[in-house]
Amino acid sequence: MSAVLLIAGDSIRALLHQRLLVALMLVTLGLTVLFSVLLTEAKEWVAQNLSNAGLDQTGRLDAKNLNQMRTGIDMAGSFFMAGFYWFTALGGTVVTLFICASAVATDIRRGTIRIVLAKPVSRAQFLLGKYCGAVAVMFGYSLLIGIALVLFAYANELNLNLAARYAPWLMFCHNLMVGSVALLLSLLIHPLLAAVVAYFASATFLSSPNSLYSILPSHDRINVFTLIMAGKLITPADIALLTLYAFVVTAIFLLLALWRFHTKELI
């Protein structure tokens, strides 16, 4: 266990060395500001249009127009919330793919793996350590998104529905699966190709059915983007089921990756 934690710590340190996490935080903050500004502009635009069209004879908004205006503003809020989530989740997926596809492959390419595996460290410990390091980074990123999402909603006086509230957690679960797929594929094919294939194996941002998913694992069950967009509620039971689904899929792909890494020759 200690070896796994040491290798995980080393992976995180390597990522910090690449200034990746700092860049991620800046991007997230930038997106929060951008979407806040856009939402404020949209609110004003909706209010202006409705008020121009819906003034009664006395020059005041009637009850019907007032409701329409509120609905319009809520819709704009949901739209921007979904957009914000979409961008940050996409960023999270890209980062996950980058980290997981290169986790072991980079060490093999650079030759640093040889010195580590010449120590009493099993290949399983090495692989799990690398994956745990990636998971820690993914978790940190999801936490960051969660905080940004709350700040975004608070700043714009938006109500967080259940889907939006759990979106960072579901994004983390989604990244667990995508990461495990990328890790497995990187042991079979070139890491860049592995990242691309693993991205298309993730159905989160592709709502239309894709023939690829007859052979690749589809993660469409964890697509909360459309739920946020539609302002639909999902129950805590759904969240639990989705979490379980993600953990099972991740475990299967990690086992396959362990088997592949165990038999792989480190030339």
């Binding site: 200690s2 390597a14 030759g111 010195i115 580590v116 120590k119 460290v121 480190l266």
Partner: protein, 303 residues
């Protein structure tokens, strides 16, 4: 107990290239063993099989009488690869602490042991510097430091002095001699034959994946031939010697029979005994390791 043992160990890569064929080798405790061969002879493949980086196509390999796939064997092992690639974002000292953790060294002892090995390889002052700022020679020293970190019973060194200057080479040889004196086993793969010759108890010469020769330098020399100085040679003895392939010469006024190998030597000694000729002196041809090496790989013409 053997420290390294291979049984019919072979490796054929995808595409059918046979890098190693049926290697049977035993390296004993407290032995400094030189592993030689031209490029492509299968040396690196052997090391990678011993470290379980590659899977053998045939046979088995053991470290400390346990299969090489057993991670525990590596807690008694130190390995210095040919190309020392280390995590460049650590300081030398911090990197050794990380490796110490992987070796199972207790947290409290890691820093002390890291300092000790840094001092041993002459890097104590540079221990706080980031590895990315190290020169090639410093990296090689740091590589050696990590290999010595757990005071290993077996040290596997792949071209250990390739990036070192003459001073560092001498320091390195001193470290090897220290290890030898303290009863450690060292398996060294090097192209610098004089270096191997100065420290190794036994050598093995590999050629095209086959084990060509193995033994002490004396044993390998004896196999190459000897000179037998004798007293008066009778006509009968000369006639009998003519039947062997040995060459008779007069060297500094002494009749000398030059034998090409051990078999010929035995034949000649028998002939001399039968003819009552006294053997005054037997001089085993002392070849340098370089001569043995080139003879073994069939490149005498390059000498």
């Amino acid at each position: 107990m053997s420290v390294i043992r291979t049984e019919d160990l072979g490796k054929t890569y995808k595409g059918g290239t046979a890098a190693l064929r049926g290697l049977n080798l035993t390296v004993n405790e407290a032995e400094v063993f030189g592993f030689l061969g031209p490029n492509g002879a299968g040396k690196s493949t052997t090391i990678q099989l011993l470290l379980n980086f590659l899977r053998p196509s045939t046979g088995k390999a053991y470290l400390f009488d346990q299969p090489v796939s057993c991670p525990e064997t590596r807690s008694r092992l130190g390995y210095l690869p040919e190309s020392v690639n280390l995590h460049s974002y650590y300081s030398g000292h911090r990197l050794l602490e990380l490796y110490g953790g992987l070796l199972g060294i207790r947290r409290a002892a890691r820093s002390r042991q890291a300092r000790e090995v840094l001092e041993r390889v002459g890097l104590l002052e540079a221990g706080g510097q980031t590895v990315s700022t190290y020169s090639k020679g410093m990296l090689q020293r740091l590589g050696l430091a990590q290999a010595l970190l757990n005071d290993p019973d077996l040290l596997i060194l792949d071209e250990p002095t390739s990036n070192l200057d003459p001073v560092a080479r001498r320091d390195f040889r001193d470290i090897l001699l220290d290890l030898k004196a303290s009863g450690k086993t060292v398996f060294i793969c090097s192209h610098i034959l004089s270096e191997v010759e100065s420290v190794c108890d036994r050598v093995a010469i590999l050629q095209q994946g086959n084990l060509n020769q193995v033994g002490t330098l004396e044993e390998l020399s004896a196999a190459r031939g000897c000179r037998i100085a004798v007293g008066d040679l009778t006509a009968e003895a000369l006639e009998a010697l003519a039947a062997t392939a040995a060459r008779v010469a007069l060297e500094r006024g002494v009749a000398t029979i030059v034998c090409a190998d051990e078999k010929m030597r035995r034949e000649v000694e028998q002939v001399l005994q039968q003819n009552g000729v006294a053997i005054e002196r037997v001089e085993i041809e002392k070849q340098s390791l370089e001569e043995i090496f080139f003879a073994a790989i069939g490149r005498e013409e390059t000498q």
